[in-house]
Each structure stands twice: as structure tokens, then as C-alpha cells.
Symmetry: C2
Subunit: 423 residues, 2 copies
């Protein structure tokens, strides 16, 4: 590693970890997200061709087209999609993220997360809840009705409450959630409870008529905070930005067909590999690995920021949700120190004497060690509308990291061979 | 240990740990607590003589007498107290507990916690917040005004909300709080947030006019849940009850003059020692150990139930609050396994592969090992009305445990000598 490359990496990680993302409000996506006009559908992961869409993402897009009034029925929406009449784009390219299908269209409300330190703004959808929801490809009337309620009732109430208290500093809330057993990817229980705690009085004062329903909606979903964690992560990676010569990963996301990564030194280029499927995990309600589709969603932005699987030691109780032993999950997180360049100055693990989580994934280190990052994941059904079928920890395919390292010109020949033979 | 004694201990600990305390509502103490008529003042710890009262407890009692309309001024109240005109009793003897001074009088609202498993009901005051509050001996107009507001506004709102959702199972909330970094004695942040999460919608529905103020009051106090944890603990120890031959501790409490314990096999007898003072801890706002009074309060009922210092391994972030290293706090908790007879079947520590916390303090084991229990504690100022000056972990004096062991007839001669020479 040259001194210049090390300095470039340090600069990127410094921006990534000094980001101070504050959720300021909830906006209409079409007004807030640059370039998101009525003709565009944003989705999770790197760009995808219509022919490669998995059933849940296609169904989510169809539901969004009906929601927007661009198709009269779900069937008509699918026909538009097949005919190539729907313009798709990666949410990541528009400063936005969403879990699972990650579909965002103009009328949907999005959280606005501002990092004044670096002058960036990121957006994420409002989490719909569990079960039959759009992000898992459910698109029946009840699903669209809930989305309309979120836009008409929950979003204005959350926006008014956030405005009345001057926003919530998400980096502080995440840091405290790590003290409370969350890793802020697959476990957001403590963060969601703290969010309710910080917002409850303000929601009642600003939206008395809808406050009870809105509070029940937010409080009723253990994963409500996930989208805020993701938006904070997206803002942080936007702050990290681009930097010539840097080998630090700034995005990990999957569209269900391909998982892709971006590196600060190669700008907007996605390096991709086929999206992996879960081979191990904890399955809900009698589902098995056969019911799960490949990895999908933008939520791995949390791992990019030192959360999720990288913060497992802060969240030992997640073992009951994603499977595995506490020791194995901690060991996987500790291994991530071998492929990262820093410890997060804000995101600390009490159990490890408040050491920071490993952060700043370096594709050269991945190439040199043959260690690909692990991520925590909720597994979506391969069929549309079923919802989540399980959760687990997964190791990403190493190829995108090797490709990025080779593009940067720092890969050593032996490293790729070593990686190829790693388990 | 005879087989009969072991069986007696097992029976006591089984009742202690199978208790299912549910907070059902908030009642006027005079209506809810047996024997608490207008002439009585309940206080923390074992019974105390007026002449032995520390300044903060005397001031809290004086404030309560004014609150009740039994004295026109604080000075007049102190005069009544000095003249022996005020009847005092241990809250513990009335099925109730309170933090620090633990003063309970008839007009105060108390949480009603019911364990239907064993048919017991326990009560605890509503936490007033931090700073200048009655439990620390502040008794000015603002303090009494807040107490009146709690009784008139917060208590009915909390009661109605609890009634509307059928109560909250505290043993479940505590168990989950251990997954979220609380030990439910000196750290109650996650439990308080979860309480707000569970109550917010219900408070808005049942008390729309006062909901915002009540939610701000509850959410604004990191220690709000403490009193509920204590009430759950008191219900559990009442369920444990008395059992001939059992050497299991069922109460640890301090009136600031003496710390006392009770054991299942000796019924209501208190074994006492002078209340210890903090020699180490983390001091707030420039306070030092010199500003702290001796240990005071009923909150050590949490340690009796396997929480607090006994659950330190679930709450590593508490090291920033009570001082000490995470490792040292964990080691102290692990040491408690040497003086307890069981692991709590419900209160589990994720980091220890979900092993239960040590529970069931056996005075014979204390005598045999010379290991006295440790407790977490918030340290009150020695002067009235100052508030909390610090927090820390403290080892209890061993003498009450040795006395109880000797009373039971199971102490071996060598044990006391060994204990006396222990650090």
C-alpha cells in the first residue's frame, strides 16, 4: 500500500465516520429526490434490466405503478414493465436507499437525513411493517391502502414532530442503540423504542388527531428504525464520497439478481456478482432455505458503516433471530477487523471495552486475506408477496472485491488465488 | 447443607423466579396499601428510630407531611417528627418499596403490581425524575407541586392506559431489557424506552388532553422504569415468602442508618449492620465521595432477584455510569454465582450464551465463602435536597448475612473467621 493510497483511505474513512446524519423530516419523494420524476421507479441494488427482475421486485414495481396511478391494475402494470415502458434506476444513484425491493416512486414519503458536516442529504422510505408489504412484493389493495395511509397520515405527523424538536441525530441514536443490544441492521428493537420515546410527546402536540394511530404504527414494528439506520448509512457513505486511489468500499447492495459494491477510488462503478442465496439461517413459521430468494436490498449500507454483522458484539441477543452462536457471530465480526482500516470513533461496543466497530472495508485487504465481508440479512421469499421467510448471516461473494482491487491496480497475483481457495 | 434445607431453598427460589409480576394500574397508596392510613409514613429499609434519621430521609418525611396537609410548613413538620408525633414504618412491611428515602404516604400514587401465579400484590411509588426530588430530601414548593401533578395528572393517565391494554408483564419487559443492555437497577434506559413504546398509543387514546405532558414526563427520565423493576422485585420476593429452614435472602434494603436483610427461614426478622458509604464510584458534576451519604433505599430488591450487579454481564455500558471496567463488573457478577443457588430461568444474559443470572443468595454460602453480595447503587447526597451525587458498585457488609446464618443454625465456626478476614 502506498502512502498516497493510505492517505486517500484515511480521508474517506474519516468522512464516513465523522458524518453526523440528522433526520429532519419526511418529504414526498418526488419533491425531495433529485431526478425522481413521475416517470421513474427507483429500486434496491445496482441497476438491473427488466428481464432480470426477480418476482418480488417486479411485483413491488407493479404495485408502485398502480399506487402512482400509472397503471389501472397490477396486470396492466406488469405488461408495461415487460414492454419496457417503465424507466428503472438504482436508488443509490439518487441518494436514496430502501430495504428488500427498495422501490421508491414519486408519491411515496421518504425520510430526509441531512449531514451538515459534509453537506449531503440522503433519503429512505418509511418502513411499512412486516408480513404482506410492498418491499416483499405484496401489492394487493390492503398493501396499497397502507402505503396511502403512510403518505397521508403517518408521514405528515412524523414530519411535524421531527420539525418541532429540530430533528433527531441518528449517529447518536445508533451509538446508544449499540449500548442497547442493537446492531441497527437486523436488530432495531432498542432503537425503535428510543425513537418512540423521543418522538411521542412531539407527535401528540403536533398531530393530536392522528397521534395514537401513528404511535401504534411506529411502535408496532420492531424494524421501524431500520430505514433510518439505512438513511444514516447512505448519508455517511455519501459524505465519504469519491477519492482517487482509495480502496474503501462505499456501497454494498443487491437487486436480487446481482450484488454490487462501489469503492471510493472508482467512483460510481458497480462491481457485481450473482446475488448469493442463503444456505444457512433461522427460518420463520416452517419456511426453509428453499423458500428464500437471493439476497436483496440496500440495507448492507449498514455493514459499510461498521454496523450489522460488523457490530455483532454489541448485539448478542441477535443470535436468537439470525441463528448461530454468540461466539461465532462475535468471531465473524472480529474477523472483519482484518479487512477494515479503522475502528469507528462513534459506534462502540461496550463489551469490548468500548472499542469501535471495524469500519472502512478495504478491497485490497479483502484480496490479500481472501476474507469477504459478512452481512446480516433478512431473507425475502423467492415468490412475490410472501414476505420475510428467515434471517441469517451470509458471506458475500468475493469476486466484486477482487474486481475492484484489480481495477484500482493494487491486487497482487497471489491474493486472488488464495481467495479463490478460501472456504 | 441438609436435604431438607436444600429443598426449602429450592422451593423459595422456584417461587422467586417463577413470579409473573404484571403492573395493572396506579392507585392511591392509602387505598391500595394495607395499613397505610393517613397517620403513617412508610420509608425505605428496615424500621428506624426518629433519632437515627439521616437528613435526606427526615426532609423527605417532612415534605410528605406537608403534602398530606398534616403540617403547615416544613419546619412544623420537622417539629412533629422530632416530637415523636409521626408514626414511621418500613415500606417492606407493607408490601411496598421505594428508591432512596422511599417515603410513601396515603395520597401518593403507587404502581400496583400483581403476581397471579402466587396471589401477591406489591406497590412502588412513581419515579419523580432526577435532581431536586422528594426521595433525595428536596421538599420545596416545586417538589411538592410536581408530586401533586403526578398524583392528579400522570397517575390517572398511566392507570387508564395500563387498564386499556390489560397491564404490562414486567418479568417479560425485564427479560427483554437484559437483551438491551439494562440491569434494571442503575440502568433502565432501554426498559423505560420500551415502556413508552408499549404505552404511548394507549395513553393518547385514554387521556388525550394530558398525553403529551405525561409522555414527556415518562420519556424524559432514564430511570423511570426503576420503580417498576423494584415493584416487580418486591412482588417476586413476596411470592418467595417464608419457608422454614431456608437460608435464601428475600430482602436487602437500607434506611441510610442501617442496611438490613431478611431470609426466608427467619420470617420478618431484619438482620442489620451500619449502612456502608461509598468509597469508590463515579461522581457527578464535581461531587466527590465526601458528598455522599450512606447507602439508602429499597432498590437492592433487584439484586435479590438476580438483577442489578448480579446482571452486570447483560449491561456492559453501565461501566460508563457506575465506573469500573466491564471486565471487573462481569467478574463481580460471576462471583455472585458462588453465593447463590440457581440461575434465573427468565433473566438471561445474551453474552453468556443466554445463561440465567445468579439468583437466590444463600446466607450459608456467604458465610462459607466470606463473599458478601455486591450491589449497584445511586449515591444520594448526605445533605437533604441535593439529589444524586454519583453511582457505583458497593460490597455489602457481611455481618447481617453471618447473623442470619447463625440464627438459622447452619453457620460453621470457621466460616465467620474466614469472612472476617476477607477484604
Amino acid at each position: 500500500v502506498t502512502a498516497a493510497a493510505a492517505a486517500a483511505n484515511a480521508a474517506v474513512v474519516d468522512r464516513l465516520t465523522s458524518a453526523a446524519p440528522v433526520v429532519r423530516g419526511v418529504r414526498r419523494a418526488g419533491d425531495a429526490i433529485a431526478g425522481l420524476d413521475a416517470g421513474l421507479v427507483l429500486h434496491a441494488g445496482p441497476p438491473i434490466q427488466v428481464g432480470d427482475l426477480l418476482a418480488p421486485m417486479a411485483a413491488a414495481i407493479a404495485g408502485a405503478l398502480v399506487l402512482e396511478g400509472r397503471a389501472p391494475t397490477i396486470d396492466a402494470a406488469h405488461a408495461q414493465l415487460r414492454a419496457g415502458e417503465v424507466e428503472l434506476a438504482s436508488a443509490h444513484d439518487h441518494g436514496a436507499v430502501g430495504p428488500v425491493a427498495g422501490v421508491i416512486t414519486a408519491s411515496m414519503p421518504v425520510f430526509e437525513v441531512v449531514d451538515d458536516e459534509h453537506g449531503v442529504v440522503a433519503h429512505a422510505t418509511v418502513n411499512e411493517g412486516l408480513g404482506r408489504v410492498l418491499r416483499f412484493g405484496a401489492n394487493d389493495d390492503a398493501v396499497l391502502e397502507r402505503l396511502r395511509w403512510i403518505a397521508a397520515v403517518a408521514a405528515p405527523a412524523l414530519d411535524a414532530a421531527l420539525a418541532s424538536i429540530g430533528g433527531i441525530a441518528l449517529h447518536r441514536l445508533v451509538a446508544e442503540a449499540l449500548n442497547r443490544g442493537d446492531e441497527c441492521h437486523n436488530r432495531n428493537k432498542a432503537a425503535t423504542a428510543q425513537l418512540v420515546r423521543q418522538l411521542a410527546g412531539a407527535i401528540v402536540r403536533t398531530s393530536p388527531a392522528s397521534a395514537a394511530d401513528v404511535l401504534d404504527f411506529v411502535a408496532g414494528n420492531d424494524h421501524f428504525f431500520l430505514n433510518l439506520s439505512m438513511a444514516a448509512g447512505k448519508a455517511s457513505t455519501m459524505a465519504a464520497g469519491e477519492e482517487a486511489g482509495s480502496s474503501i468500499v462505499t456501497a454494498i447492495a443487491s437487486n436480487g439478481h446481482e450484488v454490487g459494491i462501489r469503492v471510493a477510488g472508482t467512483g460510481g462503478t458497480w462491481c457485481t456478482a450473482p446475488a448469493p442465496s442463503a444456505d444457512d439461517g433461522r427460518w420463520l413459521d416452517g419456511f426453509t432455505a428453499d423458500d428464500a430468494g437471493p439476497l436483496m436490498g440496500d440495507s448492507f449500507v449498514t455493514e459499510v458503516c461498521g454496523l450489522g454483522a460488523f457490530a455483532a458484539a454489541a448485539a448478542p441477543a441477535i443470535a436468537t433471530y439470525i441463528g448461530g452462536s454468540v461466539g461465532a457471530l462475535n468471531a465473524a465480526a472480529a474477523e472483519m477487523a482484518r479487512i477494515t482500516v479503522a475502528e469507528h470513533p462513534r459506534y462502540r461496543v461496550p463489551y469490548l471495552d468500548f472499542r469501535g466497530t471495524p469500519v472502512g472495508i478495504d478491497v485490497h485487504r479483502v484480496a490479500a486475506t481472501g476474507i469477504a465481508p459478512v452481512v446480516n440479512a433478512g431473507f425475502a421469499a423467492r415468490h412475490a408477496g410472501v414476505g420475510q421467510v428467515g434471517a441469517g448471516q451470509l458471506r458475500l461473494p468475493i469476486e466484486p472485491f477482487l474486481e475492484a482491487a484489480a481495477t484500482l491496480g493494487g491486487a497482487r497475483p497471489g491474493a486472488m488465488a488464495a481467495a479463490a481457495s478460501a472456504p
